[in-house]
Homo-oligomer: 341 residues x 2
């Protein structure tokens, strides 16, 4: 990136004016980084070709701090939306990228975030095709917020819908839970403690698409438990399908450090946000092969079956606890960890 | 909208948690307002069918104040993106909708904004198919920011590209300029003055599509002069095409009030943002019919030809002033009016 010509070492309101300073920032940072034919149209939008079904997902990222152990808001904004598109059973292809920057953000931080967007996009196989940059006055934002909207081609074998879920379906998770939320929490002002917990932010689209290649319609639902964690997502699903979900406490893959940090802070890992984790609800007849296939993927080595769908306790999630009891898992009500993604 | 069940009279962090409060807000305000089959999938994204070329455009709206004369941030966020899609020569069909709300925004204001989004979407013929709601702490945002990303089918007769522009092409505008920027400015703290200037925020997609129906490839470029105003957009175009643009000061449609307000504040209306205005660059052989067709539209009654593309003064915009002189029109450099859209 040729940033020598950038005349400012921090973002200021002029960068959001729509005039020469905006154009300068776009040319020197955005267009030079993402250089592709779509973006180079330099129009108010991009034209792409699509035939068939497209999955579309949008997310704004407001994580604080914007730089955290294991990543920054730039890659989070790419991975989060790429994963949401994949969870719809679609192959992510394109992203739009919109920044709301607070005046005063250091130019080097902005550039670092843009570079992370680029490398995360490359890793996920998506192109940034259109964008927007707005600047708000100091104190009217928080360094940087990013919106990404993603577009993907629906996988030819996908038939992802909660209406396909049946009693007896098995529920799988691809790895350690609660990593992202606890990484953010461990860095928050006033709550800092000794920890090397890193965010699990990563793309899981290739792993999900491979599972669709192999198991097609046997996969009834994909869902990534970000805000609200595994408990909130499962509760939502139980309500949607009008059946029960039974999970086993002992089966959740959890890192020791995360368990310890949750204990110190009085948090339940089931409610903590994840970024590189996804749940699959799958027909029981392929359960063994499905788990074996998951474990072959580097992002699925710690995959587990965590539970099943049941006709008992409709609309409710019940956990078989490690000491042999049963407890109801409610969805999160208010806020456990704000600004997590 | 059944808002009786809303247990809070202001947005708080719990509404962004991903838990029950989020679900409650979505069910009672968002899903009930936008009720459609796409949104009712209640997944992380929506699946839509498309065949052929799609125009995609994204914009974040950070206007301050969020309620202004002639509209609010909700309809601005719809019209702005609808218009950007139309400027690509495409029929707007779908929007994604992402809110970043500052804790403490009054629930009634949030609902009013959501209702404006709905009515603006209905008026433009677009559906809200997926969305996101984040909440940031008090002092980390400014009431509400909205990102919309729009998708449209490219009009079968459209061939919109600055590479099609030729010397001799005529440049048209559909109405009074500088209304939006001056409406916002007239309400800003410390700058309030007696004025009834209202924002021109509106959709111009139907007008633009009708012109494409009638004139097809004779239309070389559409562009809406929002941030940076007419001067910045024309300067950008002149640079892109490597030709000159000649405009006539006397031909710009301007309301008296706007001229007066600009004089008081020392602003040049050519640099002030517009929201319901678009420029068309059109082959000279259809100029007369084009202008006549524009004037038939209620949103084009005040249409004018404001200038032409020329081989003289390449890369530069030159204005023939009202007193018979010529002056160079530079693009905006820094910021004239921040947070205008």
């Amino acid at each position: 990136m040729d940033t020598k010509g950038l005349r400012f070492d921090a973002i200021n309101l002029g960068h959001g004016s729509g005039g020469i300073m905006t154009r300068d920032l776009l040319d020197k940072v955005i267009f030079s980084t993402f250089d592709n034919a779509y973006l180079n149209q330099k129009h108010d939008g991009a034209i792409v070709k699509f035939d068939g079904e497209i999955a579309i997902s949008t997310d704004s990222f407001v994580v604080s701090p914007v730089f955290f152990k294991g990543g920054n808001i730039g890659e989070l904004a790419v991975n989060g939306t790429v994963n949401d598109v994949a969870m719809c059973g679609a192959i992510p292809k394109y992203l739009s990228l919109a920044f709301i920057v607070e005046e005063g953000l250091k130019m080097e931080e902005f550039i670092q975030i843009v570079e992370s967007v680029k490398s995360a996009a490359d890793e996920s196989g998506v192109q940034i095709i259109t964008g927007d940059t707005k600047v708000v006055e100091r104190g009217k934002g928080d360094k940087i917020f990013i919106n990404t909207t993603g577009f993907g081609e629906v996988h030819p074998k996908a038939n992802i819908s909660s209406t396909n879920i049946k009693a007896g379906d098995m529920i799988f998770v691809n790895g350690y839970i609660a990593q992202h939320g606890m990484a953010i929490m461990s860095q928050r002002e006033g709550l800092e403690f000794e920890s090397t917990i890193v965010s699990d932010t990563t793309n899981i689209n290739f792993m999900a698409m491979n599972l669709l290649d192999k198991f097609g319609e046997k996969i009834h639902l994909f869902r990534d438990p970000t805000r609200g964690g595994v408990a909130s997502v499962l509760s939502e699903i139980a309500t949607d399908i009008g059946m029960g979900i039974s999970i086993n406490e002992n089966d959740f893959p959890l890192e020791k450090q995360v368990v310890a940090a949750c204990e110190i802070l009085g948090l339940d890992p089931l409610y903590v946000a994840n970024e590189g984790v996804f749940l699959s609800i799958v027909s029981a007849d392929v359960a063994t092969e499905f788990l074996a296939e998951m474990k072959k993927d580097p992002k699925g080595i710690n995959s587990r079956c965590i539970g099943a769908v049941t006709l008992e306790h409709p609309n409710k999630v019940v956990m078989n606890s490690s000491i042999g009891g049963k407890r109801m898992v409610s969805p999160l009500i208010g806020e456990q960890l704000p600004r997590i993604c």
